[in-house]
């Protein structure tokens, strides 16, 4: 178990204990008296008022029954959405969540109408509404699939059409429903932008059960879903029911979307699917870990969002959750340890430095080579010569400024030493490395010449030892070839002529 996994595990444990503690209080709202918020504290409604310290404390410790409920519910939702989102991201279907969420709207309205017909004022029974939403969401997906199957319309347009037409139908139904005199339709529109504050413990139970079911399904079918996302052609050739697996993944998306309607609303729930998953990709190159991280990011983003909106009553929970997620995304984008921008810049820098060092050492080596006695070992002779920057300049196409910079860095790393103003000499360490670099470089060059067809692409020819990348027999044959041609040298000479006039400017070291 690596340290990353341990850290994630620890974070999860803390979160579970924290939430579990809070969850144990769901059953009996202990301090209901506290849960009613103090009356409006300010007359100016323009400003975002800062909460009192006691409020902050109460919110953070989840003393508030309402906050507690909402926090638990949305955290579970966030985690489930993060996990499902990873697979959608990997299947490059992130936006299907947007279609599902918009499509749920007419389902909610129809479910309301049906239930209202069955029982007056019974239209707002939440499980019924959610089932209606789920069915409509699935219908949206099926419509998209039908359009793709039977028309020449491409996926992007199919998604946009289904999304907007379903939403339009929902709007029309909703407006019509407004006329119905029963009055219980008030609050239906909370599904659009979400209203966490109106959640009660029964809602949280629904969210919790649904999230748990989604987690279990993903857990059981993890292997299958990962195969589907990586290589559906291979999966299909192996006899996995690719279409049905795909559909069940879509069903999970619909499930997440539907239970997310209440807290973030149908316009923004897609963010909970996409953002944590996209953020998690910056942290890991392993599917299992990516999924776990997405769950953590999704859960904690939702949790923080809820707490923030509890502290600042004017901040609606939905947008705040989305923005917290976006903040996590930005942080991950820059700090992510696998694909984050900073890591990539650092790696790039490091590579550039290494390449620069190799270049300078090779230039030194190749400059000195003609002046060494071929009979004696090279490395001991290399340290005896003094070279100036101007002499090295024609060895490569580099500017004097860059060359000086490289010399400075090489000196700092103790590969060369300054003998006097503008005169450099290789150290033993430097000579050794130069020896190895040149040998590798020349072996690679020879390999490219001998086996010209195709060479591996991701190779730094100076740094990577050829033995690590090519089969032993090839390296052996290459080395044999070289020693046959140049029996007197330990380091194989360059197979191409080095473009520099072997000057007479070599001075013997004064020391």
């Amino acid at each position: 178990m690596s340290s990353v996994e341990k850290r994630i595990g620890f974070a999860l444990l803390v979160a579970v204990i924290y939430l579990g503690n809070a969850a144990s209080c769901i059953a009996e709202p202990l301090d209901h008296s506290h849960s009613t918020r103090p009356p409006a504290r300010s007359l100016s409604r323009d400003r975002l008022e800062w909460p009192a310290l006691s409020d902050v404390k109460r919110t953070l410790l989840l003393r508030d029954y309402n906050t507690r409920i909402v926090a638990i519910g949305t955290t579970m939702l966030g985690a489930a959405a993060g996990i499902v989102g990873v697979f959608m991201l990997l299947r490059k279907r992130s936006l299907i969540g947007d279609v599902v969420s918009h499509s749920t709207w007419p389902g909610i309205a129809i479910a309301f109408l049906v239930m209202e017909r069955i029982k007056t004022d019974g239209g707002k029974w939440l499980p019924g509404l959610l089932v209606g939403a789920l069915l409509a969401g699935v219908a949206g997906i099926l419509c998209t699939k039908l359009i793709l199957r039977y028309t020449r319309i491409k996926e992007d347009a199919a998604l946009a059409i289904v999304l907007s037409v379903f939403f339009g139908a929902g709007m029309s139904l909703f407006k019509a429903v407004q006329y119905i005199p029963s009055g219980s339709q008030a609050g239906l529109n909370h599904f659009i932008l979400g209203k966490t504050a109106s959640m009660v413990s029964a809602d949280v139970w629904i969210i919790g059960e649904a999230s748990l079911a989604i987690l279990i399904v993903i857990g059981l079918l993890f292997k299958e879903f990962s195969l589907l996302s990586f290589d559906d052609k291979f999966a299909s050739s192996q006899g996995w029911p690719v279409f049905r697996l795909d559909l069940s993944l879509m069903l999970l998306v619909a499930g997440v979307t539907v239970i997310g309607l209440q807290s973030v609303g149908l316009l923004l729930v897609v963010a909970m699917l996409i953002t944590p998953a996209a953020a998690a990709r910056f942290w890991s190159d392993r599917l299992g870990r990516t999924t776990a991280i997405a769950a953590c990011l999704g859960g904690s983003g939702a949790f923080c969002g809820v707490l923030l909106s509890a502290m600042f009553p004017r901040l609606a929970a939905g947008p705040v959750i989305v923005l917290t997620g976006a903040l996590f995304f930005i942080i991950s984008l820059f700090l992510g340890v696998r694909r984050g921008v900073i890591v990539r810049i650092v790696t790039h820098r490091r590579l550039k430095t290494a390449v620069g060092r190799q270049h300078i050492l090779r230039a030194l080596f190749e400059y000195l080579e003609p002046h060494c006695d071929p009979a004696a070992p090279m490395s001991s002779q290399l340290v005896n010569h003094i070279v100036s920057a101007n002499e090295l300049l024609p060895m490569r196409s580099w500017t004097l400024k860059r060359l000086r910079h490289l010399l400075r860095t090489a000196e700092k790393s103790n590969f060369i030493a300054v003998v006097r103003e503008g005169g450099y000499r290789m150290t033993n360490r430097g000579a050794e490395l130069a020896h190895r670099v040149v040998r590798n470089h020349r072996l690679w060059e020879l390999y490219l010449i001998e086996h010209a067809d195709i060479a591996p692409s991701h190779v730094d020819r100076d740094a990577d030892d050829i033995e690590h990348l090519l089969a032993a027999d090839i390296v052996e044959s290459l080395e044999r070839l070289l020693s046959e041609r140049y029996p007197h040298m330990t380091v194989p000479p360059s197979p191409h002529a080095i473009d520099s006039a072997p000057g007479s400017t070599i001075r013997q070291s004064t020391s």
Binding site: L90, K92, L220, L221, F222, K223, E224, S226, L227, S229, F230, D231, K233, F234, S236, S237, Q238, G239, W240, R281, S284, D285, R286, L287, R289, T290, H451, D453, I454, A455, P456, S457, H458, V459, L469, L470, A471, I474
Partner: protein, 273 residues
Amino acid sequence: MIRSVLAQQSRSKIENEHPASSPLSIHDMTVAYHRKPVIWDIDYTAPLGKLVAIVGPNGAGKSTLINAVLDLVPKASGEVRVFGEEYRKQRDRVGYVPQRESVDWDFPVNALNVVAMGLYRKIGWCFPVMRRHRQTAMEALDRVGMADYAKRQISQLSGGQQQRVFLARALVQDADLYLMDEPFAGVDASTERAIVEILRELRERGRTTLVVHHDLQTVTEYFDHVMLLNMRLVATGPTSEVFTRENLRKTYGGKLALLDQVGHKMTLGESGG
């Protein structure tokens, strides 16, 4: 006389066409996209325990042939038998190496995970990948000379190494018939050699392998049998007999323009009678 007409119309008995001993027999298979045939009336019986190259120019339908055998694309007509039975019933005995470009190599898995995917069918629904499965996968990676790279994320592998991982994934299946779609495309010399070694090893163990191959130079060196394909089967048989200048000219001497024209007419669905 009616009988003779009927006899002409009736299909030959399938049992005769598909001997159970043959690892793969294709009977009059036509594959069409949007009604336009891409490959026409392939009739082929693969020899047991041989290395077969599927050779033909670009767009000749080589990959389509493999995809149709594996039920990945629908067949317009014809039948395919694997060891005398339908492919669906013999899936465990068929290993498949898709083209390297067919997947997203940025996917967050390492080489070992990819190889383990070849075992998923054996593992079955819902069961996780166990230690022994990972061991099997590791052995397969070792066989293709990639054991040191097991933990590398797949995007960090070179083209040849990625191809070896795909090969290892097929090897863990321990199939009797292997279908490989351009395993030599864009790989380095040492990978090519490693793959050839594996192919020969498979042949020694009596497995049959069909390989879509591009490099005409190496066909005679690597393969015993060859299948020359250009929208239709041009010739098939032992390399020494079939891989002739004349047959190659027939295969590579341009597409049969008529096939394209007829195919186009079939797409339009206009009867020409």
